[in-house]
């Protein structure tokens, strides 16, 4: 109880966390249409982590999940870039083919935008968003934990970890 904030703060956090995460996801998947993108959306999602950490003083035991999400995002980003190696790295091999994210714009010039376009740009936005949100959440979580803002948990010493 020592690390939690008051009931008012916790209730407001419960209400606000969901719109913040949804707004972050919106920024990520509309990265090829509107201002924003993977980095910005990931930072918005990570801010919800900061809110949870401040209000509740604990974040569960999701360190390994966040670590693997981050590694997964970066790996898939590099793989997506490498698939285009036939012509060049980061070649946009999906755009204009007609499949998922391969649609064509309704018209050149000023147009309302169409979310099923962009090819690798949209997919890479997703991957970068995954990576950035997990990475910034990890940094916030680790720093607040070591500065005494969060309740300590039972830890495994390095030697025991090796044995397991």
């Amino acid at each position: 109880m020592k690390y939690e904030m008051s009931r008012v703060v916790r209730t407001v956090t419960d209400i606000l966390v969901v719109p913040i995460i949804i707004f972050g996801i919106y920024l990520i998947i509309h990265g090829h249409l509107t201002p924003g993108g993977g980095f910005q959306g990931g930072a918005v999602i990570a801010s919800s982590t900061a809110l949870l950490v401040i209000a509740y003083g604990s974040f569960g035991k999701h360190k390994k999940d966040l670590s693997s999400l981050e590694s997964l995002g970066l790996t898939l980003f590099i793989l997506l870039a490498l698939i285009g190696m036939g012509s060049t790295m980061f070649y946009n091999y999906i755009s204009g083919t007609g499949g998922l994210f391969g649609g064509t714009l309704p018209s050149l010039g000023i147009n309302p935008g169409y979310i099923n376009t962009g090819g690798t740009i949209t997919l890479m936005n997703l991957m970068v968003g995954l990576e950035v949100s997990a990475a910034l959440s990890l940094i916030i979580w680790m720093m607040s934990k070591r500065s005494g803002m969060m309740e300590p948990e039972e830890t495994i010493s390095p030697s025991e970890e090796v044995e397991k």
């Binding site: 970066l74 946009n92 755009s95 936005n125 934990k145 030697s159």
Partner: protein
């Protein structure tokens, strides 16, 4: 002495900045616009994307973005390494006290 050096440095830098401001081209008319025109036309035609900034980030300069993502990854690795939990074994503590 220090004050006079500061005044001279201020005047020199101010002269350079004022000269640059006087010779600046008007807004919206860059000296070389070939690259801008290429990006503005090519992005919608070839990549089918509306957001030119995102197209530059993830297509034309994708390696740059890869570097950014790698920097973030190494930053997280550094934070996790520096702030990791270290529980000293009892044997080690005995050695340290001796």
């Amino acid at each position: 002495m220090r004050k006079s050096i500061a005044i001279v440095a201020f005047l020199v830098i101010f002269a350079f900045l004022a000269g640059a401001a006087v010779e600046m081209r008007p807004f919206g008319e860059p000296d070389q616009s070939a690259m801008d025109d290429h990006f503005l036309g090519d992005t919608q035609e070839r990549h089918q994307v509306n957001n030119v900034v995102t197209a530059v980030l993830f297509d034309y300069r994708g390696l740059d973005t890869l570097g950014e993502a790698t920097i973030l990854f190494s930053a997280v690795s550094g934070v996790l390494t520096v702030l990791r939990e270290i529980k000293k074994d009892e044997k080690e503590e005995e050695v340290a006290t001796k």
